[in-house]
């Protein structure tokens, strides 16, 4: 096996087998699961929301149970049983349906009023049924019946889904920015500390007597990248499962249905080229983090190693937040091509339709070129940096490291 891949595999397995990785990956799911569980327990059972339907007219009752569109139960057919069930809070109440003098009457009995939505559905059922009753009583000809069946029409010609659009864009932007920021901060620290911890030991000499520093460096970066991809895949898989659950669960189904447009647009914004920008950002930051880790002299300083990258990430994050409402600003346009910034600002422009596919492509090519160039250069000087263990400060370490190889 290629030595780069041996290092990649070793780095990857060491990371994914660690408790910190498991915690990192599982934490969001635990959080969502916990919130969902609490909501589930707090939401009354579905059967308690049902209403019973009581009527001497069995056909009318059956018709209501089938076609009213509200949550009903056919368990209680008599007034007394429905009353008892209401008292026990097994059901929300009961509806009595009567037909007297060809007039349909529905009366709800229960501790709380029926929701406005259910009221509308009951009213619609009553109107439809009453109309049918009236028509049958009027003994009209087919032609007359057809004439009376004509309904008015209501049409909507919407200009644009501006409100939905704006909300979806804003949510997409925040999800991307915070996600990228968290991933970058986490993995910058992990990478820099891992490299710095190795630097303080002589194991590097043993490794560099087995493979070239460039191959080792590339292997480390690929290993960390694989860990990040694994985390992303787990999140994607978890996300798919969550979407399935959320669409069907009684806790979230209504919310999902009401906001389907926004949610679909957000998912579309996330699962696009923006994800690739996020991934490449992580790769670039990982490379620079490894470089920073290699500049630290002692294991005890490993914590400090990631600071330059973390601060850089913080600055780009702050810039992205500051311009989130102004994606057409000239600064945003220019810096959406500048590596480190582009990973935040180009997605911002893409979400707001202020950048074309070509512009996104150019930004990505620049980002890729920067990554490849950084890896090539740092890979070349990596051996010198890692074997330089005298305490000379940041610039001194860099200078000495460059002079070794």
């Amino acid at each position: 096996m290629n030595k780069t891949w041996i290092v990649t595999l070793e780095t990857y397995l060491r990371q994914v087998k660690s408790w910190s990785f498991l915690t990192l990956v599982l934490m969001p799911f635990l959080f969502v699961g916990l919130s969902f569980g609490i909501s589930y327990l707090a939401t009354p059972n579905q059967s308690k929301n049902d209403i019973a339907v009581v009527s001497k007219n069995t056909a009318l009752r059956a018709n209501f149970l089938d076609s009213s569109g509200i949550a009903t139960t056919d368990k209680y057919a008599t007034t007394s049983s429905a009353q008892r069930a209401t008292k026990r809070s097994d059901i929300n109440g009961y509806l009595t349906l009567t037909v007297k003098n060809n007039q349909l009457t529905a009366t709800f009995h229960g501790p709380d009023a029926v929701s406005s939505g259910d009221q509308a559905k009951i009213q619609r059922f009553l109107s439809t049924t009453q109309t049918a009753l009236n028509l049958s009583q009027a003994k009209l000809s087919k032609q007359q019946t057809r004439a009376l069946a004509v309904q008015p029409q209501f049409k909507q010609r919407l200009q644009k889904k501006t409100a939905t659009d704006k909300l979806a864009k804003r949510i997409s932007f925040y999800i991307i920015v915070f996600f990228v920021y968290l991933i970058l901060t986490t993995y910058s620290s992990i990478t820099a500390q891992e490299i710095a911890a190795e630097k303080g030991t002589k194991i590097m000499e043993v490794i560099f007597s087995s493979t070239t520093p460039r191959k080792y460096f590339n292997g480390k970066v690929y290993g960390v990248l694989l860990v990040i991809v694994t985390q992303l895949l787990i999140y994607l898989l978890g996300g798919v499962i969550l979407v399935q659950v959320a669409q069907k669960s009684r806790v979230t189904a209504d919310f999902w249905q009401q906001n389907a447009g926004v949610i679909n647009q957000i998912l579309h914004n996330l699962l696009s080229i923006n994800l690739l920008f996020a991934l490449l950002a992580v790769l670039l930051y990982t490379v620079i983090s490894a470089f920073c880790g290699a500049l630290v002299t002692r294991v005890e300083d490993a914590g400090k190693a990631s600071q330059p990258v973390v601060y850089l990430n913080l600055i780009t994050f702050a810039v992205a937040l500051a311009f989130q409402g102004n994606p057409t600003n000239t600064f945003v346009k220019i810096f959406s091509y500048v590596p480190f910034f582009s990973s935040y600002l180009m997605p911002l422009r893409l979400i707001n339709n202020s950048a074309s596919g070509l512009q996104a492509g150019i930004s990505m090519v620049i980002l890729l070129a920067t990554i490849i160039g950084s890896m090539a250069y740092i890979g070349r000087i990596y051996g010198g940096l890692m074997l330089q263990t005298d305490e000379l400060g940041f610039w001194g370490n860099l200078k000495r490291g460059l002079s070794l190889k």
Binding site: E10, K202, E205, V206, L387, L404
Partner: protein, 299 residues
Amino acid sequence: MLSVANISKTFGTVKALNAVSFDVHDGEIMGLIGQNGAGKSTTFHSILNFLTFDGQITWNGQPLTAADYDQIGYLPEERSLMSKLTITQQIVYLARLKNQSANVTKPKIKDWMARFAVKGQPTDRINKLSKGNQQKVQLICTLIHDPQLIILDEPFSGLDPVNADLLKQAILDAKQRGATIIFSSHDMSNVEEICDSLVMLRNGQTVLKGTIDDVRQQFGRTRLFLTTDWTSNQLSELTGVTSVKTIGPHRYRLQLADASVGPAIFDKVTAGQYVPEFSQQPPTLDEIFRTEAGGGQRE
């Protein structure tokens, strides 16, 4: 064969190596000796391509490149392993980097652990092992892929005499199969015992080079061990004797100005009579080290 030809290395204003040259043949053990900072580790680092340097280093006639790494077994001066790995994981990982597959390495581990008397199981984590056992695991990592070029930087430091003997045996076994071995040591008895040749460095320069016997003989038979009824004062008045040290009852070690004064002293001290001991020897490596490595000031 490893050939180091005229290599020099400068760090800033410090000349760490100055035109150092030596050859080590297949099946030969060479000791690289010198005080701390003499340039031993820099020499090793140059051989391993960790540094840029002036001069040329070749392995079997070709410049040593990454393609030769699989044939190298290197033990650095300070011991270091990946503390969270198990013994097996650590050995297998480093052996894989030498292109020896896990399938080949794993069955060997128990034998090597027994050979070095490592206390513990292959599944034990490195950080659970004692310092001495960690050192032995690192030695296993250095040797388990049967390297052709073995570079050991202070391999005996920290090892007790029993474990040092185990290491010596492993080095001699490697020599037996034709490996080229170069190691540094401050303990001259180890060098004297197993090395075929040595190079002594002082401030980056070669001050001694050759087989152990040649190097010792360069200094002449200037040490005289003598058992006699003569007193220390009487012995120190003899011509050519620079110092006398009492090392036992009627037993003395004389330092001679020149080996050639030996016969005259023999005649005077024995006067045709029997003496239990009259042994004229060259200085030991340890004595040579003390005088030469520090700056050539002899006792």
